[in-house]
Amino acid sequence: MNKTVNNRAWLLVLPVFALVAFSAVLPLMTVVNYSVQDTFGNNQFFWNGLGWYQELLDPSSQLGERFYDALWRNLLFSGIVLALEVPLGILVALSMPRRGIGVAFALVIMALPLLIPWNVVGTIWQVFARSDIGLFGYAVNRALAPLGTDFNYTQGVLAAWITIVIMDVWHWTGLIALLCYAGLKSIPDAYYQAARIDGASRFAVFTTIQLPKMRRVLLIAVLLRFMDSFMIYTEPFVLTGGGPGNSTTFLSIDLVKLALGQFDLGKAAAMSIVYNLIILAACWVFYTVMVNVGVERRALGTPTAGETPPAEPASAPVIPIERRAA
């Protein structure tokens, strides 16, 4: 829908342009500037062209190896988290009450983890998962004791990953559940009634009615969660600090290490730009898919006004379901 055009509207957008220029464009340009130069401090810069980029994208170089490691780690994390959160979120949404007093209660419970600041989430789990005083860590440790292994996220790679994944699932499943719940609520009762009449099983109702009607919100949820998990920083930083070793060092954590830990500004800048481009690409996919899913073509198959559909032959053969002779 294009509305009436009023060119004065552009004036109203000007402040935002100015703000975006200051907050985004200028700092980004600084980063671009850093990414093509080398510096050894003292504000001395040497032109390096695309050198950092070449090194970053070359898996055989030290920087490249590090970058790809973090990237795969990140993708693996996003994959695991999505694979757990989406089905779990749907399951939770399906089992939430549809009316009555339980609705408000369920909504609040689901929204609660979303309201907690991210560093607090990290801190909570840091304590919660500790094997000595944390309830979760202690319980798991006791359970694993007969097997002779122990659960310690500061030392075991697997334990660290399990903790981070569970933390993320705890933190974000609510979001997916809420989105799915909204999708489910929008299905008119007539659909469920029709399915009951058609003798559909619970599973058939899910695949033929609920899942198709949730498709849109699920898509939003998946893309949102993918972007978010791909940019994760605070929680693992607080919980594991990227360790043990580099086993939970995701791109964002690695970037900070590179920039602020090693002060390799050029390399870090190049990495930021590439990181940024990946996210932009994901954004673009997100946007395109959303827009295309939104487009419902106009209804097809109407015979134009007055056009008579082909009539059946006059002497239709007798069909078995005609039990009453015409």
């Binding site: 829908m1 294009n2 509305k3 009436t4 134009t304 006004a305 008579t308 006059a314």
Partner: protein, 366 residues
């Protein structure tokens, strides 16, 4: 003093919603937009209101070019199919709301609201909330709110579609009186021919975004300029049969041969489509020169006071379905063979391009 649309076109993406519509709506008139779903009624109303700007063409009000002037700065009121009222305001406050926005003095508001409420028979309900009212009363409230503004242009988009049949009938009977009391230009969109006839005024027939005819309602009904308009303005659907005229003889595709009389008399030789409304298909010959057709009954629908008999007639292109609307009860079993009759005086003839070639020769017969 009129709203004028000049060669207005409206595209949305690749789809063309309105194709080259020119229309002049005089002040103080009621204009019906008649057409099936997706024929462009709502799109045209949005253009008139200024909710959308035309992709091409101009919209003029009293000679002033309004093209591109947004709806807030026009004097327009709109009523929708859904009953749209402020749920937390009483009926009085709902009706008064446009006047409050305009910052009119309280006494003026009081006077205007009472006037509108009286016109729409809402006086007993002024203190109630919209949800405590029936659907009919809710829609009356919405109409009152549209009238109280004294807008130059009042647009009603299928306002009765969500009401029960009887409530619809009741409000429909009152609307001409309500409209007459105001001096605005009224535009009323509907899919139902009977509604257009009841409201009177002028009718603009729309099909696929194109204006097929505009004129006084009875005239559009009795002399539709083309086949499309005749189809839009017929309920039950228009009956159609192809025929050819050659010298003194008319041959219908059903094989029926007939000497040239009635509507056939004034047209040149050639192929035509014969169109006739359901109440002009008869079981008994309506006159000495009636055309007889052999048919078989497909379904007979009986309403108690009249019957709709659906019959099939055989043509080289296959069976053709015709509907006869007959007074009284006609219990006809399906597959019964019978003879139906046409009156040559009460037929429309459309030429190969679908343009009207001849209309019924009997006054009031269409």
């Amino acid at each position: 003093m009129a709203l004028i649309l000049e060669n207005v076109r409206r595209d949305a993406g690749a789809e063309r919603h309105i194709r080259d519509v020119s229309l002049t709506l005089e002040r103080g008139t009621l204009n019906v937009l008649l057409g099936p779903t997706l024929s462009g009624k709502t799109s045209l109303m949005r253009l008139m209101a200024g909710l959308d700007a035309p992709s091409e063409g101009r919209v003029l009000m009293d000679g002033r070019d309004l093209t591109g002037v947004p709806v807030q700065r026009r004097n327009v009121a709109m009523v929708y199919q859904q009953f749209i009222n402020y749920p937390t305001l009483t009926v009085f406050e709902n009706i008064a709301s446009p006047l409050r926005v305009a910052r009119l003095p309280a006494t003026e508001i009081e006077a205007r609201v009472s006037e509108a409420a009286a016109l729409l028979r809402l006086e007993p309900y002024l203190g109630r909330l919209p949800l405590e009212l029936s659907g009919g009363q809710q829609q009356r409230t919405a109409i009152a709110r549209a009238l109280v503004k004294r807008a130059e242009l009042v647009l009603l988009d299928e306002p009765l579609a969500n009401l029960d049949y009887k409530l619809r009938e009741e409000l429909r009977e009152e609307l001409p009186r309500i409209f007459a009391a105001s001096g605005a230009i009224f535009v009323y969109a509907t899919t139902e021919p009977s509604e257009a006839l009841l409201l009177g005024g002028c009718t603009a027939a729309l099909a696929q975004g194109r204006l097929t005819q505009f004129g006084p309602t009875p005239e559009v009904y009795r002399r539709p300029q083309d086949l499309t308009t005749a189809r839009i303005f017929s309920d039950p659907p228009l009956n159609e049969l192809a025929c050819s005229k050659d010298g003194g003889l008319v041959v219908l595709d059903t094989g029926a041969r007939h000497a040239v009389t009635g509507a056939f008399a004034g047209v040149p030789d050639g192929r035509y489509v014969v169109g006739f409304r359901a109440h002009h298909l008869f079981l008994e010959p309506p006159g000495p020169d009636a055309i007889a057709l052999a048919a078989t009954v497909s379904v007979a629908e009986i309403t108690g006071s009249e019957s709709f008999v659906h019959v099939d007639v055989r043509t080289p292109q296959g069976e053709r379905r015709l509907v006869a609307q007959l007074p009284g009860v006609h219990r006809l079993e399906p597959t019964t063979a019978l003879t139906v009759h046409l009156d040559p005086q009460r037929l429309f003839l459309f030429d190969a391009e679908g343009r009207l070639a001849a209309a019924p020769t009997i006054a009031r017969a269409a």
